[in-house]
């Protein structure tokens, strides 16, 4: 399945792009997606412990089961206000 990934804030600088796609087998989790992304974008992996993950408009954890068409957002801690 194809998963679209968007990067936000300085994660765009770390990955060098605003968005990308990943091919994953059915039943893959966010954890597997992250492993693939960290292989492609090593600078992102340094931020592992402060990475927030959303699918669509909702926050999700690493064990979330991805579905075809999911749009994943990865970003650093938020800083509004």
């Amino acid at each position: 399945m194809t998963i679209r990934v968007q990067f936000w804030s300085y994660f765009k600088d770390l990955s060098g792009c605003a968005e990308t796609t990943e091919q994953l087998p059915p039943g893959a989790t966010i954890d597997q997606l992250l492993k693939n992304l960290y292989a492609r974008f090593p600078k992102l992996s340094a931020m592992q412990n402060s990475t927030l993950i959303a699918v669509g408009l909702e926050y999700q954890g690493r064990s979330y089961l991805l579905n075809e068409g999911d749009e994943v957002s990865l970003f650093p801690p938020v800083q509004g206000g």
């Binding site: 968007q6 936000w8 804030s9 300085y10 927030l52 959303a54 669509g56 408009l57 909702e58 926050y59 957002s73 970003f75 650093p76 938020v78 800083q79 509004g80 206000g81």
Partner: protein
């Protein structure tokens, strides 16, 4: 509860928002907050902060917080939130919010809750402009 959440690239004129306020006769308290860009951030002089948002998600996450407020303080009549995006110069508000409630205690408490929580969950980020 009336909810007005706005993400805007225009300057925030809080006095204009306040002059548009409407309160029913059972409401006794309006608390408003303006968060203004300061000239220093982490000890460094800056001229502006540039705000970026994941806009649809930010609006949704604000809505989740407003659900929590409605549950915890069911008597609140109105919450208005305005967050500016893009480059906000020092001295100008990046955030304005207002709570209208029967009594001051719930207006103050929910206003503080809203700001504390949005800083954890609403996907908005800042970049200092030197």
């Amino acid at each position: 509860m009336h909810r007005l959440v706005t993400l805007t690239r225009d300057p925030i004129f809080d006095s204009a928002y306040i002059s548009q306020r409407s309160m029913s006769a059972t409401m006794g308290a309006a608390v408003s907050f303006s968060g203004v860009v300061r000239g220093h951030e982490n000890g460094e002089a800056i001229t502006a902060i540039e705000y970026e948002a994941n806009e649809p998600m930010a609006l949704h996450q604000f809505d989740i917080l407003l659900d929590l407020i409605e549950e915890q303080w069911p008597m609140i009549e109105t919450v208005r939130i305005v967050h500016r995006l893009g480059k906000v110069p020092v001295g100008e508000p990046s955030l304005w919010l207002e709570i209208i409630a029967p009594h001051r205690a719930e207006a103050f408490a929910s206003g503080q809750f809203l700001i504390d929580e949005m800083k954890k969950s609403v996907p908005i980020w800042k970049k200092m402009i030197g």
